[in-house]
Each structure stands twice: as structure tokens, then as C-alpha cells.
Amino acid sequence: MKMWNVTDKILVALTALIYIILWAPTMFLVLFSFNKDELGIRWEGFSLEWYPEIFNNVAVRDAVERSLIIAIITVVVATIVGTLTAYGLYKYKFRGRRTLRTSVLLPITMPYVVIGGSLLIFFTRVAHIPLGYLTILIAHISFSIPLAVFVVLGRMARIDWTLEEASTDLGADKLTTWRKITIPLLLPAIIASAVLIFPWSFNDFVITFFVAGVGTTTLPLYVFSLLRFGETAVINAIGTIFIALPVIGILLMNFFQKREVV
């Protein structure tokens, strides 16, 4: 390696500073979730009291349950539809293929407020679907399918497809081929997309805020309602769990992708 000159040193120092700024609020939150002070502003000593509190709180438990149900259904539906779409886009040439490929981008490039707002108007004024689980699920799945499509498409480009041809040549029908060859080949991407979609759906606040109804308060919506009352200590504890979840998710994904290489 070359010697580090002054520009490099400044660069490294600046980068370190940005990292600190990027992580300071999160670190602060995690640290203060172990704080005795209920207002969570001044450090009053180490305490674990807020964690049992959130697990004993019925409202929190209900909200977690709702968020989990929504995230799990979203992951299952979006991954299935997304995998099928990616397969169709990759394997077949058909009219409108390019249009479809571009429109996959539509749900993820639209501002969240517009997705949430347009669905709200659509549900209440046109489709007359009462706001609740169904509307939240529709919104989450709409946003999640593209993520699955892109993850699976990425994997497809790197797969040796001769196995699938061999299976067909040997007389296996389409369904058997899918079960025995295609799905196992795509499995790492399917898992990766599920790992990607789950925290997204679980965490989503903006879109859910627009399409949720009475009695479908998800965890982020519940946290938002707490914000108004300034229940800082409880929010800090929930927030720490919120931050821990995706970190675990990303580590899991990393683990699966490493296995994929082997």
C-alpha cells in the first residue's frame, strides 16, 4: 500500500465523523432504553425495567401481533407472486415485456405518501373496502412484490438452467420440475427476498398510516401515538428491538448469501 497523505487523512477523519453522526441517534436510543429516567432525557442509572413493561403491555403485544401477521402474509404473497413474475420476465419473450419490467419499478419509485394517499382514496371512494387488515395487506404487498422480483431476477441471471432443461427432457412435467429443480435453485433468492421484505413490512409507518383502520394499529402506528404522549422510555425500548430486528435480518441474509457462493 502507498503511504497515506494528508488528503487521505482528512478523508478518513471526515468519513469517521459521518459514521458517528449516522449512528449517534441510534446508539443514544439503545443506550437510553436502559435508562432509569422515565422521560428518557437525563441519564439516571442503568435499568432493565422498560423491557418487561413493553412485554406486559397489552396494547404493545396486540400491536406486535398485528404487525407480525401483516408482515408474514406480505412476505408469503409477495415472494410467491414476485418469484413467478421474475421467472416469467426472465424465461419468456412476450409483447409488453419491457413495459412490465419498467412498471415493476412503479411501486418503489412512487413517493410513499402518494402510494398511501392514492390507495386511501381508492379504497374509501371507489372500491369501498373498509380500512383494516385487507387494505394494509394490499398496500404492503404492492410495495413488496417489486423487491422480490429484483432479488429473484438477480439470482436467475447466475443460475445454470441446463438442470431444468434436463428435467423436462427426461419427461418431468412442469410442476415436478418446479418442485424438484426450479424452486431449490431459486431458494437462496427466495429466502433473501423474504428476509428483505419482512423488516420492511414490519417497520412501515407511512403507507400503513394512510390505509390502516380502527383496530388495526400496527406497532409503528402505536409508537407514533406514543410519541405524542412523550413516553420516551417505552419508545426507546421498542426502538431498540426495532433496530435489532433488521440487523439480525441482514446478518441472516449475509449468512445465506455466503452459503449460496459455496
Binding site: L14, L84, G88
Partner: protein, 304 residues
């Protein structure tokens, strides 16, 4: 008798027809569900708000009459609406430029000086973007609030005599936007820097280029793709942001997203809110179109 015959016949005919149809369209079972989904739940709702944006409202905005009008679009450019729209554009541009100015050196540093920590350093950039926004912005608010740690530290050090109003001003919103979207700028630039052919850099050094010149004439042009991708990934969400101005700007520093929310959920003037949403969509589509034009067909795919 007859009825059962008909019932028995129709499904068989139908099944036959479906089979023939599928033989001609083998891709349909795969891409069909998503195509249907996107038409029903993405394109149709956008169509609905486009329709609503042209409808006339009653005196208080609550009632809607099916009479065509451009009133809402005309109102958008005047008074408070105009200021907010202009601010939205300015903030999106500003966020983009600041993210580029911070993100490029950062990506450069990770790519060049990261060594065996590269993957970890990159992870540390990505992870915040996968945690809850609400929680992160809330944490930011707690730190910067009146009783927060910044103010209390400055107070106890005697640097200030009364708490500073750090929040609820344009700077707080800009900071929040950069804080939220910086990862989206760093990632694509990092990818393009790593993909750079080192022999080109060596050649420029051999030919006597100074480090600065080498950066300007070799590195920067070759990482244009990354800058381009990062710009799209930052500009579009910054333009439509709602939560950042809501939590850090309050009622004083609203952006277009807040207007949509306010009109839809508080004021109840759906046509007005729709016209703002339509303008946002139009700008996003324009950017997407331009990026496909300028960056080639797979420009957008490379981003993802």
C-alpha cells in the same frame, strides 16, 4: 337434465379454451398475477386521484361535484401552496447535492482505504436504512429537542443561556433528509468505484497526472453511473418525503407530502390533495423517463 348437461359442458369447454389460450401465452401464469395486481392496486388508484384532481369542490372543500375544473392545479402555484412546492423542489435538490458532497468522499474512502473492513463499513451504512425511520427520526428529535442532550450539554457547559430551537426550522428538515437518504447515495457510488479498472488509474499516474487531475479526468467520469444512480435514489424519495418534515419541521416547514396528508386526512379536500399528489407523480415519472433516456435502458435496473 338439461341444466346438468349444460353445467357439465361449459366447464369442459372453458377448460379447453383456457388450455389453448395458455399454449399460445405460456408466460401468462407467471406474469399474469402481478400484471393484474399492479393494474388494480397501483395504476387504478393513481388513475383515481388523477380523476379526482380535476373535480370541483364545494365552498368548504368537503363536497365534490363531478364538474371538470383546473382550479386546483392553478391554486397550486399561488400563495402558501406555491411556497411549499418550491421548497419541496429546493429541499430535494439540496439534499441531493449535500448527499453527493458527503457521500462521494465517504464511498471513496470505504472503497480505497477500507481494506478488509470494506464489507463491515458498508454494512454500517446500510443498516440504518433498514431500521424504522420513525424510530430514527424520533431519536434525532429527542437529542435535538429543547430538553435534549445537545441543549443540556451546551447549557451545563455554559455555552448558551437558554435552550436553542434546533428543531422546526428548514435546517433541521434538511439535516433529517440528508440523514435519511445518505445511504442511498453511498451505495451506488461505492459499487461504481469498486468496479473501476485499476490499470486505468495506474496509466494516468504513469503518464504524469497529479492525484487531483487523475481524480477529475479518470475516476470521476468513470463513476458517473454511480452518481447518476445515487441521484435518482436520493432525489425521488426526498421529493416525496412526509415523515421528515412532519417530525422535524412541524407546521412551519411543510413539504408537498405534508400537503397531501393534510388535504386527504385533515382538511378533507380530496381534489386539492390529489392535484398535489399528481404533480409529485408527474415529477417522479419525468425523472424516471429522463434517466432511462440519458442513462440507457438498463440504467434503472442497474440501480436495483
Amino acid at each position: 337434465m338439461l341444466a346438468s348437461k349444460v353445467v357439465g359442458k361449459v366447464p369442459r369447454n372453458l377448460r379447453e379454451k383456457i388450455r389453448k389460450f395458455l399454449a399460445k401465452q405460456p408466460h401468462l401464469p407467471y406474469v399474469g398475477p402481478f400484471s393484474l395486481w399492479i393494474v388494480l392496486f397501483v395504476i387504478a388508484p393513481l388513475g383515481v386521484i388523477l380523476y379526482f384532481s380535476f373535480l370541483t369542490t364545494g365552498a368548504y372543500g368537503g363536497e365534490i361535484f363531478p364538474i371538470f375544473t383546473l382550479e386546483h392545479y392553478l391554486r397550486l402555484w399561488r400563495g402558501a401552496y406555491g411556497i411549499i412546492l418550491l421548497r419541496t423542489l429546493l429541499f430535494a435538490f439540496g439534499t441531493n447535492i449535500v448527499c453527493l458532497l458527503i457521500g462521494y468522499p465517504m464511498a471513496y474512502c470505504i472503497a480505497r482505504r477500507g481494506g478488509r473492513w470494506k464489507a463491515t463499513l458498508l454494512f454500517l451504512v446500510i443498516i440504518p436504512s433498514w431500521t424504522s425511520w420513525l424510530i430514527r427520526l424520533y431519536a434525532l428529535r429527542t437529542i435535538a429537542g429543547f430538553a435534549g442532550i445537545i441543549n443540556s450539554t451546551l447549557l451545563s457547559l455554559g455555552l448558551i443561556s437558554s435552550p436553542l430551537g434546533i428543531l422546526f426550522n428548514p435546517y433541521a428538515v434538511m439535516f433529517g433528509l440528508v440523514y435519511a437518504f445518505l445511504p442511498f447515495m453511498v451505495l451506488p457510488i461505492y459499487a461504481s468505484l469498486v468496479g473501476l479498472d485499476p490499470s486505468l488509474l495506474e496509466a494516468s499516474v504513469d503518464l504524469g497526472a497529479t492525484p487531483f487531475r487523475r481524480f477529475l479526468t479518470v475516476t470521476l467520469p468513470l463513476t458517473k453511473g454511480g452518481i447518476f444512480a445515487g441521484t435518482i435514489l436520493v432525489f425521488i424519495p426526498a421529493l416525496g418525503s412526509w415523515l421528515v418534515p412532519l417530525l422535524l419541521g412541524g407546521a412551519k416547514v411543510m413539504m408537498a407530502g405534508n400537503l397531501v396528508h393534510l388535504q386527504y386526512m385533515t382538511v378533507g379536500n380530496i381534489p386539492m390533495g390529489s392535484s398535489i399528489a399528481v404533480v409529485l407523480v408527474a415529477v417522479v415519472l419525468l425523472i424516471m423517463y429522463l434517466s432511462i433516456k440519458l442513462g440507457g435502458e438498463d440504467a434503472l435496473e442497474r440501480i436495483l
